[in-house]
Subunit: 303 residues, 2 copies
């Protein structure tokens, strides 16, 4: 008997099956569509989740559908370099969404989102609620971060540790300032709204987009860039804390080591094997000074 | 002085610069955005256009914007296996859209389409006119074709030539029938509407989606599958002829050999080197019997 939700467990490649009805009982619902999401495996261990940003984004959206019982979801990690994968998916790259009942394979991000959008609409799930202000606030943040990442790692190429941002040339500072300005905008928006998520107290696609990106920025920033989300942005950090308390985020989040390796591969950086030797860990805590600020303001993300 | 449109010429990797005002005179317009589209190069020759379906789709959309003078467009072929490319684009795959003025790199199909959509809206170009009927008609056609492609080539694996579809096992016939049924639907729609393109006499995103896919189906069908678009679908063939007379399609269309190689690579088929030894050709004609039918019906696509 198929369960409603299956995801790969780090280390054994398949595993935990959860029930979509949140009550511990299994109710067969033959009409509930089964959606299989193929996500990129980690370069360290093909049974672990890799850090492709779109894979996590769609995983979060699908989790939202599973969570309220409108879909069954199975997530599978795939080694994109294996011949079996290449032949099976005709050269397509993850994320790939398969809906066996409809014999449909969605390989284009527009198609995947279109299918999730359609399901959300059909079941009245407000996952795709439009919000122009949020859209404007978060648009381009990750793109800007990647520009910063490339420039800063290029500048730091022969250094043992990332240099201080204060000591970087103006061009890199410009990249940095643009990101901080945009993070400030998001902090402001959250301060004005006092909502748990960007649009309201419900998670929407915007959160599925922003949460993984903020987390990547944080993990990669620390290890490769000498960068952190500025601690003064209390509302932004509280939002990060919300991510760490959101099942859709936690379930779909790769280990720190897999995130670091992902960007190292992309940047073609010298590969120390450090990540592959470490026991996988997940940073899902925030700096204690920031946590104090959040507590003082009384805005802590509820569980 | 930059020209409005630049595309790679087969063989020399860069070249023809066209003017967006259609009058032979060059008008400087500093506000006109410059959009650079990076498309996958052919596996035969990195200076030739590869057959990635999304690359051609976006190229056609961008051409539509260029054609009426709202954007400058440059198309560049990239060898995705080169270290320079990997590092420069941080692991992203073409199509990639760059807008230097905004320091923006769009690597997600949703983002690329979003940017083109926004520009089309801004300048009142009806490229994204919605049409539910068209959407329903063309949805999933290419996905179904790929299922057929995979099953049929697997079945024909050890044969010298593609087998006849009549002789194929029921499962493959089911795939085939589904495609023919859908092509019939498109033929009917075009017969009912008597329009040049799917929605009206103006090209829309639906045409940018369908035209390359129909052409691929035709080229790959002939060489690898013993399949052709059924000749009785006169309106559908007339639509294919329209593609062959549409600048956006012609400009962005890879050579037959590059299309065949693209699918052979995806299917991991034995590589005869046949394609790479041939002079690149483009099939932009239709069977003469079908052309006679079109002429008899008096529905020929105008130039």
């Amino acid at each position: 008997m198929a369960d409603d939700y299956q995801l790969p467990l780090n280390g054994n490649g398949n595993g935990a099956a959860l029930n979509g009805n949140n009550n511990g009982h299994h109710t067969e619902s033959p009409m509930k569509p089964l959606l299989e999401l193929y996500v990129k495996a980690s370069g360290i261990d093909a049974r672990r989740i890799g850090a492709d940003i779109f894979c996590q984004e769609f995983w979060m959206e699908l989790y939202a559908l599973y969570e309220i019982g409108v879909a069954r979801v199975e997530v599978k990690t795939v080694n994109v370099n294996s011949e079996a994968f290449k032949r099976n998916f005709l050269g397509a790259q993850p994320p790939i969404l398969i809906e066996e009942d409809k014999q449909a394979t969605y390989t284009d991000n527009r198609e995947i989102e279109g299918r999730i959008f359609h399901l959300a609409k059909q079941y009245g799930v407000p996952l795709f609620e439009k919000d122009q202000l949020v859209e404007k606030c978060i648009e381009g943040l990750y793109r800007n971060f990647k520009l910063f990442l490339r420039a800063k790692t290029e500048f730091d190429k022969d250094k043992k540790e990332p240099s201080l941002i204060e000591a970087a040339p103006p061009q890199i500072k410009t990249h940095y300032n643009r990101i901080v300005e945009q993070l400030n905008g998001i902090d402001q928006l959250l301060a004005d709204r006092r909502t748990r998520y960007l649009v309201s107290d419900n998670m929407t696609e915007y959160d599925c987009e922003l949460m993984p990106r903020l987390h990547h920025m944080r993990i990669v920033g620390q290890r490769l860039l000498g960068f952190d989300l500025p601690h003064k942005f209390t509302y932004l950090w509280n939002y990060v804390l919300t991510a760490y308390r959101t099942a859709a985020f936690i379930e779909s989040c790769p280990a720190d080591q897999d995130i670091i390796l992902h960007y190292k591969e992309q940047l073609n950086l010298f590969y120390h094997q450090r990540e592959s030797l470490q026991t996988p860990t997940k940073t899902h805590t925030i700096p204690s000074r920031v946590l104090d600020d959040i507590t003082r303001l009384g805005i802590a993300a509820s569980n």
